[in-house]
Amino acid sequence: MRIEILRRKKGEKDSYLQVFEYEKTTDDETVLSVLNNLNLREELKDINGEKAEKIVFKSSCGQKKCGSCAMLINGRPGLACASRISQYSDTIRLEPLKKFPVIEDLVVDRSIMEENLKQMKVFFEDKAIISEKRNQVSYEASRCLQCGCCLEVCPNFSVDNNFTGMAGAMPMSRIINELDKKQLKEISKAYNKFVYNGCGKSLSCVDICPAKIKIEDMLVNSNAIAVWKRYLKD
C-alpha cells in the first residue's frame, strides 16, 4: 500500500508530502494501526529510501471514545482508529484537519473548541435537573468527543467567527436540557448568539460525526427551550 502523509515540521509554515510503502498486517487494520506500525520501524524510510522522522499524531483510546486521532483520510475527516484500511484503495492520504492551526504533522490546535465552551459558560451555576425524559437528551449530548470533525465540514464555522459549530452546541445542549430557570436567560442568550444565529442548517455535521450523535434531535430540543422558550415538563 501507499501511505501519503502531509507533514510539517514544528514551527514551520510549509507542509510537504511524504510517501511510505506499507505492507498491511491484516485486512481489518485501522489507519491508526498503520501509523503506529510505521513508527515501530527501527528506521523509518520513505518510498525513495530517504530517512524520515517519526510521524507525529495524537491518539489515546484507539476505539472511538476520545476523539484524539481526528484527521483527513482521503480528504474526509474521520478518526484514524475508526477507519479500516480495507475500505480504501491502495493509496491512503492522511492530512491534518484544515480548519485548525497545524502544530506538527497530523497534530492541530483544537483549543478553540474549549475556548468557545468557556465563552458560552457551558456549566451549571446551580444543581442540574435530571429525569428519565431529560436523560435521553443528556446522554446523547454528553457523547460529543470534541474531535472537531463536524467543524471541519461546516460551511459556517471558522476559528475567527462567533459560531461555535456543533462541537459547542452539543455540550451546550446538555446544559440547556438540565437547567433550572434562573440560569436559562443567560444561557439562552449565549445559545442564540453563538449557535442558533450562526448555523446555516446545512447539517453536513450529521453524517460526519464519528459518534453518530443525533445532532438534529439535540438542536430541536435546545431550540425549543432556548429560542422558542418552550420549557420542559418532566
Partner: protein, 519 residues
C-alpha cells in the same frame, strides 16, 4: 497553588475539590480532558444506594471490596471509599449525569464479586458521561480563576529535593515553551498501560513514563505485581477492546464448546456467582478452559438470552460498537472473547490520605496503589478515582515551595520499538499464570536490553519494569490478580503490600497493612 498532573476523573475531582475550598490549582495534561482514559470506562460506578430493594448498605460494599481485593487493601481507606460512595453518586446526579432510571427512580445493575445490585450506570458509557459532567464543572471554576488548564503540556520533570517535591517543569507540546510550576503536586497520571504497549484496553497516553522517572528518584511503589486481566476483551489490531462486565451483569454467559456442545463453564464451576465472579477468578477460569484439550480452545460471550429491549435500553452502545468494529450482533450470536490487561491495582505507594513517600507529592486514581488490593471490583475504579482525587485534595497542604535549582531534564521519550520490547518481556513474565522460571527469564531479558544504547527515559522505564518483575518474584504466593503455579496457595504471611523502592538498586520489601480502626 497545587499542581495536578492528569485531567482524567481523579485529576478533575482533585481540581474541583480544591476549587470548592478556594484553593487554586494548575491542571496539567498531555491532551485535553476529553481524551483521558476515564472516558473509556464503561460499566458503572458502585455505591450502596439501596434503591433496588435488596437491603444493601455500605458495609456490604466494604466487605465485597475487601474480599474481592483478597484482603490486600487498606481497610480504613476502603471503609472511607464505600461510606462516601452514595454521596459521590448523589453529587454526580447534581452535576447532571444521566444515570439509568425507571419510573422516576434510579436503577443499579449487578457486577462481578458483589452480592447486591450496586452499580449505577449510563448504558455502557458511564466513564464518558461522568467525564462530560466533571469537565463542565471544572469549567465553572476555571471561569472563576480557580483552575488553570495546561491541556497540551507534558511533564518533563518533577523537582524533588531532600525527598520533598517542589514543583513541576512542563513543556508546552505546541510551542515548545518550558514552564515552571512551583508548589505541591497531585499525580493523577493514570495506570501503567505504557509498559504493555498495544496489549491493554487502556489509553496510549498513559505511558507510565512519569512514574518510572519518579521511581528512579526514590518514589516508592506498591503492589506492582497486581495486574488485572479483564476476562472479556477482543483484539482490534493494536489494542484490546473491552467488552464491559455489564454484558454479564445484564445476563451474558461465558461459554465454550465441549464435545461440540455449548458448555457454560462458569455456571458449573461457580454455581453461586456463576458468570459474575470477581475478574481474577473469571480470567483464570477462561485461561484454563482455553487450554483444556476437551474444549474447543475458544471462549465465547453469549448474550443471546438477554431480551433485545433490555439490550437496547441498557447496552445499545455496546451493541453498536461490536457491530461497527466486528460486524457482530450480540443479540444474534455468541462472540469470541479473551482476557486482556485492563487495570493496574499497583502504583504509587500512598497512605490513607493519598500522600506518597515523597513530601508534597500525592497520588490518586489508577496511578496510585489504593483501594483495590490484589484485584479490583468492576465499578470501583470510577469511584476510586473520584474519591481518591477528592481525598488527596482535601489533605494536601497548599504550602509555599519554590524550585531553586531549575534544570530542564531533556524531555526524552521511549521509542515505540523499545516500548514493544519491554511489553514483550513483561507479558512473558507477568501473564495470567506466573512462576519463578518465567519471571527470572524476563529479568534476564531486561539485563540484555540494558546493554543496548538507551536514552534516559528508556533506562528509567526498564528499571521500573524490573521492579514490577521483582515484586512478582518476591510475592511467593497466589492472591487476586497475582497467580503463581509454583505457589498456588494464598499465604497469610504475605498479606502485606509489596513495596518497591530504588536507591542505586531496586529493593522490594513487604509492608504491613494498617489495622482497621474501630469506627
Amino acid at each position: 497553588m497545587i499542581n495536578i498532573i492528569g485531567s482524567g476523573l481523579a485529576g478533575l475531582s482533585a481540581a474541583i475539590t480544591l476549587a470548592k475550598k478556594g484553593t487554586a490549582s494548575n491542571l496539567v495534561s498531555v491532551q485535553e480532558a476529553q481524551r483521558a482514559q476515564s472516558v473509556m470506562a464503561e460499566g458503572g460506578i458502585n455505591a450502596a444506594l439501596n434503591v433496588m430493594g435488596e437491603d444493601d448498605n455500605f458495609m456490604n460494599h466494604y466487605e465485597d471490596t475487601m474480599k474481592g481485593g483478597a484482603y490486600l487493601a487498606d481497610p480504613n481507606s476502603v471503609y472511607g471509599l464505600c461510606k462516601n460512595a452514595p454521596d459521590i453518586v448523589n453529587w454526580l446526579i447534581e452535576l447532571g449525569v444521566p444515570f439509568e432510571m425507571k419510573n422516576g427512580k434510579m436503577i443499579q445493575r449487578n457486577f462481578g464479586g458483589q452480592k447486591k445490585k450496586r452499580t449505577a450506570y449510563v448504558k455502557s458509557s458511564t466513564g464518558k458521561m461522568l467525564m462530560s459532567a466533571l469537565i463542565d464543572e471544572a469549567r465553572k471554576y476555571e471561569s472563576k480563576g480557580l483552575i488553570t488548564r495546561y491541556p497540551h503540556h507534558k511533564v518533563a520533570d518533577l523537582v524533588v529535593e531532600d525527598n520533598t517535591c517542589k514543583g513541576a517543569i512542563l513543556k508546552d507540546e505546541y510551542s515548545g515553551e518550558v514552564i515552571t510550576l512551583h508548589g505541591p503536586v497531585i499525580l493523577a497520571c493514570g495506570g501503567l498501560t505504557g509498559l504493555f504497549r498495544c496489549r491493554t484496553t487502556g489509553s496510549s497516553d498513559n505511558t507510565g513514563q512519569l512514574v518510572s522517572n519518579l521511581f528512579v528518584k526514590g518514589l516508592k511503589m506498591g503492589n506492582l505485581e497486581m495486574i488485572q486481566y479483564h476476562p472479556t476483551t477482543i483484539d482490534i489490531g493494536d489494542k484490546k477492546l473491552l467488552v464491559s462486565e455489564a454484558a454479564r451483569g445484564e445476563g451474558g454467559r461465558l461459554m465454550t464448546y465441549r464435545n461440540n456442545e455449548p458448555y457454560y463453564f462458569m455456571e458449573e464451576l461457580y454455581p453461586e456467582e456463576k458468570n459474575l465472579t470477581t475478574r481474577d477468578v473469571a480470567t483464570r477460569a477462561i485461561y484454563k478452559i482455553m487450554n483444556d484439550k476437551e474444549c474447543s480452545g475458544d471462549v465465547y460471550l453469549d448474550m443471546t438470552g438477554i431480551k433485545e429491549e433490555i439490550i437496547n435500553e441498557r447496552l445499545s452502545d455496546m451493541r453498536e460498537e461490536l457491530l461497527d468494529y466486528f460486524n457482530i450482533d450480540l443479540c444474534k450470536e455468541p462472540f469470541k472473547v479473551k482476557p486482556g490487561i485492563h487495570y493496574f491495582m499497583g502504583g504509587v505507594y500512598v497512605d490513607e490520605k493519598h500522600q506518597s513517600s515523597i513530601a508534597n507529592l500525592y497520588a490518586a486514581g489508577e496511578c496510585a496503589c489504593q483501594y483495590h488490593g490484589a484485584n479490583r471490583l468492576g465499578g470501583n475504579s470510577l469511584l476510586g478515582a473520584i474519591y481518591g482525587g477528592k481525598t488527596a485534595a482535601e489533605n494536601i497542604e497548599d504550602v509555599e515551595v519554590k524550585i531553586t535549582k531549575e534544570i530542564l531534564k531533556d524531555c526524552d521519550e521511549c521509542s515505540p520499538l523499545f516500548n514493544e520490547k519491554i511489553a514483550t518481556i513483561l507479558s512473558e513474565g507477568l501473564g495470567i499464570i506466573r512462576n519463578e522460571e518465567g519471571i527470572l527469564k524476563a529479568l534476564d531479558k531486561c539485563e540484555s536490553l540494558e546493554k543496548e544504547e538507551l536514552n534516559k527515559a528508556e533506562q528509567n522505564k526498564l528499571t521500573f519494569a524490573k521492579a514490577m518483575l521483582k515484586s512478582a518474584l518476591n510475592r511467593k504466593e497466589s492472591r487476586g490478580g497475582h497467580y503463581r503455579d509454583d505457589y498456588p496457595e494464598t499465604d497469610e504471611s504475605y498479606r502485606k503490600t509489596s513495596v518497591a523502592g530504588y536507591d542505586q538498586d531496586i529493593t522490594i520489601n513487604f509492608a504491613d497493612i494498617p489495622e482497621r480502626r474501630p469506627q
